[in-house]
Symmetry: C2
Subunit: 582 residues, 2 copies
């Protein structure tokens, strides 16, 4: 007397704007799901357009093409219940889920909760929906919602559960940050046990500009148990067999649920119950299918996010090869390793660009790294250009000693060299600045901040070391040479320069930055954590003073809850110093 359905969660990697490519990928995956005997297949949020489409949503031709393809895709729903994300247009635009069955588009669900915080701008593009559909096919009862809808404690899912839904399909484009998966799975477990429904959470995989999507689609039982998990950072088609009667059993048993369902739900969301012909539970289920892929550790998931982010940026923007400067330091070493894992060693070119201030150790470490990674290494001394600039500008520079202006000529020459190689050979220029540097402005406009893609832009220096060590541990040998970890960080722009001449020690700095940038704490709040007030004050002043540099940085991969970029929108012109008060 089971009521078993076979569900396929299609975790694919679409490309923003490439409607035809996405269409074909979806259609092919529907065919695969059918071949595996699935009765239901669900794709991710705005999968047809790619996510997030940003101001493409404002183009009528774009929205219309997406609508045409939506109707066409719906025809692929013969013998399967199909859910996928698209942009609906009906007086206004909606972030929508198409529900198709028996070859017809039967419903267009409109996302109710539109995120407009952090990296999200959905109120800019979409009108909110007001209906919660429940699809009844024989003994099977399904609710559909989109991403943010399931994060709210009262929303469409509760309305659907109240009207008997056993399976809640929630389709997602949920941007990655480190350890988000745990938080998300805890929330989903709660929602499942709150509603007494199966929750099938299907999440996009792939990268789009500064965002990475990790996949890691999951299914939770009506008792809040994790019963299936797809791969992380890879495409996957997760097949799960569910006995939907379990939902009914839990809800009949659990008085708490019945009482909760009597609370008047959000008046704004009205239930729409549809009774459909046919059957979804025709499965001859002698063996219940499911799998739980392992959860990745923190360093593993961050590293994989960086690799996927770099690979997808290159691939989706037409680059097969990349170039970067190798200084022998930890930042460029880690960036090179990520580039190699993203693009292959044959597609990465490292360039050593020594000056009079470059140590032999730096040169040797860069060489050893390039050898270990198996990448091409080029050597271009910056001295001829450096001498030329010093001569050309001598009238305007101090006659004795150095200056920041003189120091900064060097990264600017290096940028010109790398851009020239990039232009000449069609190489993606990877910059190697870390979050600690970018936060404090310890970088040069027109120099190391200029490039095509900023690989470790959101990685604090201390985490750079951890990720480098992680990469070595995976290899089982020191791909990144031991000495790169132990020598004190230096920009080598003058004699005996050390980063810590200008900045607080990185271990302290990174703690301050996390509190200040990610948690919006003030200097006073941070000092209360026991950190040296002088360091706190210095670090925060630097962050406040350098917004203009960050505004001109290339985009890079977000891995923290609050990256520089769309996440943190500080004015450049900004006199507020209240966060610095002690």
């Amino acid at each position: 007397m089971a009521n078993i359905v076979r569900l396929a969660l299609a975790q694919i990697n679409p490309i923003v704007g490439n409607l035809d490519y996405n269409y074909k990928k979806i259609a092919d995956t529907i065919a695969k799901a059918k071949a595996k005997g699935a009765n239901i297949v669900a794709f991710t949020e705005l999968v047809l357009t790619g996510y997030p489409p940003e101001d493409l949503v404002l183009l009528p031709s774009f929205v219309q093409h997406n609508l045409d393809l939506t109707y066409s895709l719906a025809e692929e729903s013969r013998d399967i219940f199909l859910v996928f994300g698209f942009i609906d247009l009906d007086q206004d635009t909606y972030n929508a889920a198409a529900v198709a069955y028996n070859g017809k588009l039967i419903y267009r669900y409109h996302k109710v909760f539109l995120p407009n915080y952090g990296v999200f701008d959905e109120e800019r593009y979409f009108r909110r929906g007001t209906a919660a559909p429940i699809f009844k096919i024989g003994p099977v009862s399904i609710g559909v919602s989109i991403c943010e809808d399931i994060w709210h404690p009262v929303g469409p899912a509760n309305v659907q559960a109240y009207h008997g839904a056993q399976l809640l399909i929630n389709i997602n484009g949920s941007p990655f940050h480190a350890q988000k998966q745990r938080w998300r799975e805890a929330m989903l477990a709660t929602r499942a046990s709150d509603t007494g429904c199966f929750i099938a959470y299907v999440n996009m995989v792939g990268a789009q500009d500064e965002l990475v999507f990790d996949g890691s689609s999951v299914v939770f039982s009506p008792e809040g148990e994790l019963i299936a998990r797809a791969k992380s950072f890879e495409e996957d088609l997760l097949i799960v067999d569910l006995d939907l009667d379990e939902s009914t059993r839990v809800r009949l048993r659990d008085t708490r649920l019945r009482q909760e369902s009597e609370i008047r739900l959000l008046e704004d969301i009205k239930a729409e119950v549809m009774e459909l012909e046919g059957s979804l539970n025709k499965l001859n289920a002698l063996e219940i299918k499911s799998r739980i892929e392992k959860e990745q550790e923190k360093l593993e998931e961050i590293y994989n996010a960086l690799v996927l982010g770099t690979r997808d940026y290159a691939r989706k923007n037409g680059f097969s090869k990349a170039v970067l400067g190798l200084s022998g330091g930890i930042d460029s070493s880690l960036s090179a390793a990520i580039a190699v894992d993203a693009l292959g060693p044959q597609n990465v070119i490292g360039v050593r660009m020594p000056s009079r201030f470059t140590s032999q150790a730096s040169l040797d470490d860069a060489k050893e790294l390039a050898d270990n990674l198996g990448i091409e290494l080029r050597d271009i001394s910056i001295e001829p250009a450096f001498c030329a600039f010093l001569e050309m500008l001598k009238q305007w520079l101090p006659q004795t000693g150095s200056s920041v202006a003189i120091e900064n000529i060097q990264p600017r020459i290096r940028a010109t060299i790398l851009w020239t190689l990039s232009n000449q050979e069609g190489l993606l220029l990877l910059t190697t600045g870390n979050k600690s540097e970018i936060a404090t402005g310890y970088c040069t406009l027109g120099g190391d901040t200029t490039g095509g893609f900023a690989v470790i832009k959101d990685i604090p220096k201390t985490l750079v070391y951890e990720l480098a060590a992680y990469r070595n541990s995976v290899a089982g040998r020191n791909i990144i040479p031991e000495r790169v970890f132990t020598k004190p960080p230096s920009a080598e722009l003058r004699e005996n320069q050390k980063d810590e001449d200008s900045l607080p020690p990185y271990a302290v700095l990174d703690q301050i930055l996390e509190e200040y940038v990610e948690h919006n704490k003030s200097a006073l709040d941070i000092v209360k954590l026991g950190i040296d007030p002088a360091f706190v004050s210095r670090a925060i002043k630097l962050v406040d003073a350098n917004e203009y540099k960050r505004r001109q940085s290339p985009i890079g991969i977000k891995i923290t809850p609050r990256a520089f970029g769309k996440d943190r929108r500080m004015p450049v012109t900004n006199h507020y110093r209240g966060q610095q008060n002690l």
Copy 2:
């Protein structure tokens, strides 16, 4: 039997984040308004925090300091009815207007309509209000609302009019674009005659990052006539005497208004009528005060916006002096003239940076311009560095002929020179690229696109010529030399190079760009306007392909309805080509 009040509209220039500076400026201006006998004084939207404060709104210390100062400012309302913008915090944050009277904060109005399109992100920061207050003081009845509230045909203003308001004070931070003032004044005339109320529209002046606010505060009579206008692009305190009985007279006379007022207004907005003690119409008005400043012509207002935008960016970011490259072309010539008008000739340094490809005419024209403007001119040939780079990179560059990579070395050397001067002397580096170049990517990353502030970023090339001619006409002589207008534009990066070798003629290109960028039209739409399909196709492909360059440009002044920047949020990774279809 008149019911006369004296209204002061305080059009001041606040600084984002500088709460104490703004506080003092507001307090001083209240004193001035009192000295002029005003009974009512109104300041602009979020004047206390500066506008737009962006993610500063998310900082508890910032919001708290603003609240403390709000209560303190309210005490300045002895003998005057005071309205000013601040951030309210009451369970959530609101874009609010403080209403103070007799030394007390009597009401905190919450903006009802929160713009979340174009450059606006107000749904990111604020909860919407639900109340429309009416303040009755003897025979005087006043409504207060904020900016966007008055743009909607049914909103707080109608509710206030229905409950007897005679004067509607609307406080604004309305970003400038060319000719917006006409559109705005037409709308306000309509709202005044729709409601039968005086409308006092007070708008911010000054610049904040990419936005300029033009001031041009106005008052309309209940019959929709313009009766007062403040200056444009300058601080001003506009004093207007109003006989509020005119509102009553118009509304008793005009049956249409009475019928309209019986329509059930937005249920969400509830009226709150407050009866207050005292008197506002104690004016001994023997002579009715008012003035109407002249409306500026299109070129005049755009030029003034660029000057104010540049001056405020420099001033508010701590720069007194600026540097820019002078190529002898129209873009750098116009940019230099704007810089001089913004900062004074003694604060602008021009740099000629010739190469082997620079013509004598370019050198002469740059010299003549610098002489005419009275600015310092420096000469730094780029040849030594250019030769050095060609030698350093010869293994990686074509052995014969030129290449884009070789060409681009030159602007990159120039950027290094200018950055070095900027670093050494604390100069603001102004870039001189126009909108046509930035749209089509006819510019070099790490070269002419890198700098501190992009003066003419939103000015299409054809408008650059018009503005240059306008500047000469104002001077009554050719500040910008005649030949700069007549010679064909060239980047002079190779022999005999002309812009039109790579781009459609600018007259055509700019028309295409306006349709494509500002109006979101497709290639097909644009060809229907009678433009050569080959040019349309080429231009649009270039715009689509160069989002990554724009993302790294410095900020610059918005003067069109849709500038590159916060206004247009296109993904960098974007495969959509549907707009290119013919």
